[in-house]
Symmetry: D3
C-alpha cells in the first residue's frame, strides 16, 4: 500500500457542502444520474439523522486503526471521516474516544467500511456513524496505510474533499468537482418530485404520469382478468 | 418471464383478512402448522407495527420497477403490495412517491424482496414496509414482468389474494383458500398460549407441561452434577 | 453429540458478576486483552440495555428447541441462558412463552446463536435478547443435546458459569476463573479511558498521546500536501 | 409441515425426458422464456456431466434426513431425487450409502438444497450430485416431512414429475405439463444458436446481428474516442 | 491475545495418527458421535487427496502471518499446520514458499481459516491445503499471536496434538485424548457401513434396514397416491 | 450512469503486456506493493490457466448484457474483456456465443463481476473465464451503460488499457501507466523468491531469513514448553 498522508486537500465551498444536508441521499443519488451510492451494507447506528460534509479518507490494514489516528489530525470542521480497509474487516476500529476527539474538531460524522463499538455512547453523545459492522473487538496500531488518498467503498471511489451525504438510506458520495452541479440537479429533482407527490396524492398513476402504458404494450404485456386467465389455462 | 397483468384476483372476505391483524406473525405461522414464514431476511423498516392484508403481487427484473407501476393500479383498500425480482437485487426499487400513491389507494403496506429507499420519509408518513435491503440506488423502467401471478419469496409461493400478515418478527403468508381455517387455528393457539403463559408465570416448567421428561430419557439424555461429571472425566 | 444435562455448575460470586454491568462490552473485551467477543452477528433486539450474568448453556440440534426446555430448569436468578446449535439455524427457537418462564426464575436475558420470535412482546415485557436472527418459523422438540457443557459461538468457547456481558455492541464472555481479574482490569481501563477522554476533549491527539508519530515515521509514512503530491505525480 | 408421502406421481413420457439430456441447462432455461433456473448456489460435485430425469421430491427438517429414506422407496429408473429443507441447512444429509441404494434403483442423480458428503466416493461411483454444500456433518432421523409434494428451491417450485436437467451450469426445472413444448423450443433455440455461432465465428457482431445499434442510439449511448473524451473533460 | 509459543506439545502415537488416513472425514466424524467437523467453508484446493496428521496450531491477526513463521519451526514430520485468525480474513496468508519449508520438514498439509495463494504451484508440488479463501492479496508481519494454544475454527476447538483428518468432504478434528477410541469406532463404523452397502446394493431399503416405517407412522406420516391426494383436495 | 462508448483506449506496449504472463497473480500483486487484487470472489471456471492482457471495460445494468455487445466491438487481439455491473447480479450474462465472437477477435479471456453460463462449452473451447457466479439464468438487452470508462471490481478501479493478469489465484490489475515498472518489480521479486525457495528447501527458517526472532521478542512473544505452560496454569 501507498504510505502517505496528504494534508490540505481542496474542499468545495462550505455553503455548497452544507446545502446538501437539505436533500435525502436517494435524491442526491438520483440527481447525479444514479451514481455514488455506497450500497446497502453501510447502515446508520442511529435513526433520523442526516449529515453532509467533506471527506477525509483513511486506508487501514484490517483490524488496525493506526491510520485513523493519523486521519484525526487532518480533520476539521464540517469534515466527514471516511475509513476503508485493505481487505474486509469486522473489527470495531472506532469508538467513543475517537468520537470525542473528532467532535472537538467539529467533524460531522464517520463513515467506516468496517466495525465500530461503543455505539450506545456514540448515540448518547450525538456523533453520527454509518458502518458495516458493530463489534466489540478492538484494533491494533501496527501497520501503515494512507490518509487522503482515494479509497474505494462498495465499488465507489471516495477522494479527499468529495462531499459525503448520509441518512437513514445509507451514504452517497458527490465528487468534489461535481458538487455545485449536483446541488442544482438535486434542487430540480426535489421540485419535480414535489409535483409528482401532489399528483400521486391526488390519485394520478405512475403509468399515466410517466407514459408507461405504451411501453408495457410495446414489451408485450397483456391484461387479463384473473378468471379469464386461469379458465383459459385449464381449457 | 410471463408478461401478463391479472386484474380482479379473488380476495377472501374483508373481515377475515382484518381479523388476522389481531395475531402475531409467529402465532399465525404456528397455527398453520409451521408453514408460510418469509424468513429472517425480510425485515421491517419500522418497529412495533403489525398489518394484515391481501396480496397484490409483482414480479420485476432486478433493478427495474416498471411492473411496480403497473401493480399500483391493481391495488385497492386493504391490499398489501408484494414485490419479487427475477434474480437477487439490492436496488432501492420503491420509495416515498410510490408510498404516496399506495396510501391514497388505501393500501396497508409493502413487502419487497429487494431494496427500498426514502425510509425516513416512509416512517414519517406511517407507511409500513418490510424489505430485504435499504439502498439509495434507484431502478430503471425498461423490462416487462407480471402482476398478480404467483411469486416466490424465501421459498414461499405468494399468490394474488393470499393473506399477508407482517410485524416485527417478519412476514407470513396465508393461502387464500385456507384463510378462514387459519383464523380459527390462530384463535385456538392464542387461547392455548394464554394458558401456558399463566402456567409458566406461575413457575411450571415446559418439561412438565409438555411431558418432555420421558422424551429426554428415551433419547438417552442423562443428568449429572457438574462436579460428578468432571471428576469422572479425570478418573 | 454428548447428551447430558449438568446441574449445579459453579458460579463466580454474585457481586463480582453484577459489577460487570457497570462496564461496556467493549471495555471488558479490551480489559481482558481483546478476547471473548462473540462477534458482530449477535445483535440485540432492543436498544440501550446492558446485562451481566452467569451462563447456563444449551446445545440444540438446528430447528429443535428440546434442550432449551431442559435448560430452563437449570436457570436461576442472575443467569443468562446461552443457546448454541450443532449447525447454523435460522429458526425462531425462542419466544415470549420461554421468556415468561425465565423471567419468573429471575434470569437476566438470552444469548442465542440462532433465531428468536415474538420480538415485540419480548421488548414489551423487558426481557433482553441477543440473537443471530429474528424469524417467525418455530422449532420442533425431537432431538437430544446437552445443557451446561461448553458451547462455541463465533469462535468463543462459553462454559457454564462463565460471565456474560451484553449491550448494544454485542456480547462478551469472561471465563469463570478469570472473572475477578477481568473486573479489576475493567476498572483500570475505565480510569485510563476517562483520562484519555478528557485529553481528547481538550484537543490532544492520539498521535501524541499514544506516541504514534515515531511509529508512523518508522513504518515509512510520509506527509505531503495534496498539491505537492499530485503535481509531483504528473511531472 | 404437511406430513404425507405421495406415491405414483404422473411422469412425462420417458423419451421426452431423456431428450432433454441433449441440451444444456442454459439452453433449456432460455427456451422456456428464462424461467426455472435453480440459481448459482447449487453446484455440481463433478465436472462435465449432464443428466435429465423426473423429479421425486422430499421436504426435510434441517439436519434430518428421515424423509430421504422415505423418498428412496418412491424413486425409480430415470428419476432425479430433489431434496429441500424447511429452513437453510449445511448438514451432509446424503452420502454414498444413499447413492448405492438409488443407483440400484436406476436413479439418474441427486439435487439437494443442503449438504452432501462422501463426495470422493460419489465421484468414484459416478453418481451425479448438485448440492448447496459439501459437509461431513451428518443428519438425524427424527422429524417428519413430505415426499412428492411441491418443494421450493432458489425461488422455483419443483413438483413431483417435473423434468430436471442439470449440468456444469447448474439445474433447471421444466414443469411436467410443459415438457413437450420446452423440448420443441429447445430444439429451435439450438438451431438458432448454431446459426449465430457460425456468424460470430465469421466475424459478425451481436450489435449487427441483433439490431442493437439503433437501441443504443435511442438510449442515448454516444461513441467518443478515448482521447476526445478526456481532452473535453479537462477543457 | 495471549502471545506465547508452546513447544513440544504431546502427540498421539504415530501409528494411531496414520491409521486415520484409511477413513473418510465423514466416517470419522460419524464414528465420534457427530462432532468435530470444521464445516462446509473449509474446502480443498486439490481433489482426491486425504491426509491425517497432528495439529500444530497458530493464531494470527487478520492479514498478518508473522505467527505462521513462528509455527513452521514447531512443525515436524506428520504434523498438519492449522492456522486461525483473530477475526475473519480473506488474505492469502500462505503460499508456495511456506509450503516449501513445510514439505522439507515432512509436514502433511495445511488447514487455514483464511486465504491461500500460489494454488497452482501448491497443487504442482503436491502440498495439500484446505482453506476458506483463495486470494492473491498477501499478508504483513507486524502483530503477535500464539502457537500451539487451542484455536477455534467453525465452532470447533483445535488443540496442539489433536488429530486432523482432511479429504474432499472437508476437515475433522479428533481430540488427542480420544484418538485411540475414535480409531476403534471408525473401524466399527466402516464394517457396519460395508454391510449396509451390500444390503442397499441388493435392493434393501433404509426404511426397513433402520426400522423407520414405524417411526414414520408414529410421527403421523400417511401414504396417499398422487391421484387420491389431489382429487380429495379439490372435493 | 454515464452512457458512452470510448474507442481506441491507449494500451501499453504489447511485449510488456505479454511478459506478465510469465508471473503469477500473487507475484505481480506483491511486486506492486500489495495492491490490485480483485479478491477471492472472482474464481476461474478452469484450472491451470494463466492469461495477461489489456482491459476493455464494460459497465452493465444488473441482468442486462446490452453493453457487452457494444464492448465486443471494441476488443482486439490480446485484450481481456472486463465486465462490471451497476449493482450485484447473479445472472449468467456471458456464454459460449459471446466467447465465439471474442475468440475470433483474438481476445485472451473474460473477467466478469457477475455470472457466466455454458461453462462446459467454454472449457471445451479453451476460452478462459474468471467470474463471480455460474448461473444458467440469462440477461436482457434493455438498459444503457458504458464501455471503456473505469469500472470498480472488489474495490479496485480497472480502466481501459490497464493490464489484467489472471490465474488460479484470481485476478490482479496493473495500471497502464505503471505496467513497465510492475514488470521490473515482478522480475526482481521472482529472483528473490527463487533464493528464498532454495533456502527454505535447504531447511532455513523464515524466522531467521527475515529476521523475525527479534520482532517476536519485541512484541512480547515468549516461548514455553507445553508442559511448563500447563503446569504453571494449574499451580
Amino acid at each position: 500500500m501507498n504510505t502517505v498522508v496528504l494534508t490540505d486537500p481542496p474542499r468545495p465551498p462550505r455553503d455548497v457542502v452544507e446545502a446538501f444536508a437539505g436533500f435525502g441521499v436517494a435524491t442526491v443519488h438520483e440527481a447525479m444520474g444514479r451514481v455514488g451510492s455506497l450500497g446497502p451494507d453501510l447502515t446508520p447506528i442511529q435513526q433520523g439523522v442526516r449529515i453532509a460534509g467533506t471527506a477525509v479518507t483513511a486506508l487501514c490494514w484490517p483490524g488496525d486503526n493506526l491510520m485513523v489516528h493519523a486521519a484525526v489530525e487532518q480533520c476539521g470542521p464540517g469534515d466527514v471521516l471516511v475509513v476503508a480497509t485493505a481487505a474486509p474487516s469486522v473489527h470495531g476500529m472506532f469508538g467513543e474516544l475517537f468520537a470525542t476527539a473528532l467532535a472537538r474538531r467539529g467533524v460531522a460524522g464517520l463513515v467506516i467500511d468496517a466495525g465500530v463499538r461503543d455505539t450506545a455512547d456514540l448515540r448518547a453523545m450525538g456523533f453520527p456513524v454509518w458502518s458495516r459492522h458493530v463489534c466489540a473487538q478492538g484494533a491494533v496500531k501496527a501497520t501503515a496505510g494512507s490518509v487522503n488518498l482515494p479509497v474505494v467503498i462498495a465499488g465507489q471511489v471516495v477522494d479527499a474533499g468529495d462531499v459525503i451525504v448520509a441518512d437513514d438510506d445509507g451514504v452517497v458520495r458527490v465528487p468534489r468537482s461535481g458538487a455545485a452541479g449536483a446541488l442544482v440537479a438535486s434542487r430540480a429533482r426535489v421540485a419535480k418530485e414535489e409535483a409528482s407527490r401532489e399528483a400521486f396524492a391526488g390519485g394520478e398513476l405512475g403509468l399515466d404520469r410517466y407514459g408507461l402504458r405504451g411501453l408495457l404494450r410495446d414489451l408485450g404485456v397483456v391484461y387479463r382478468t384473473h378468471e379469464e386467465y386461469y379458465s383459459s389455462q385449464e381449457g
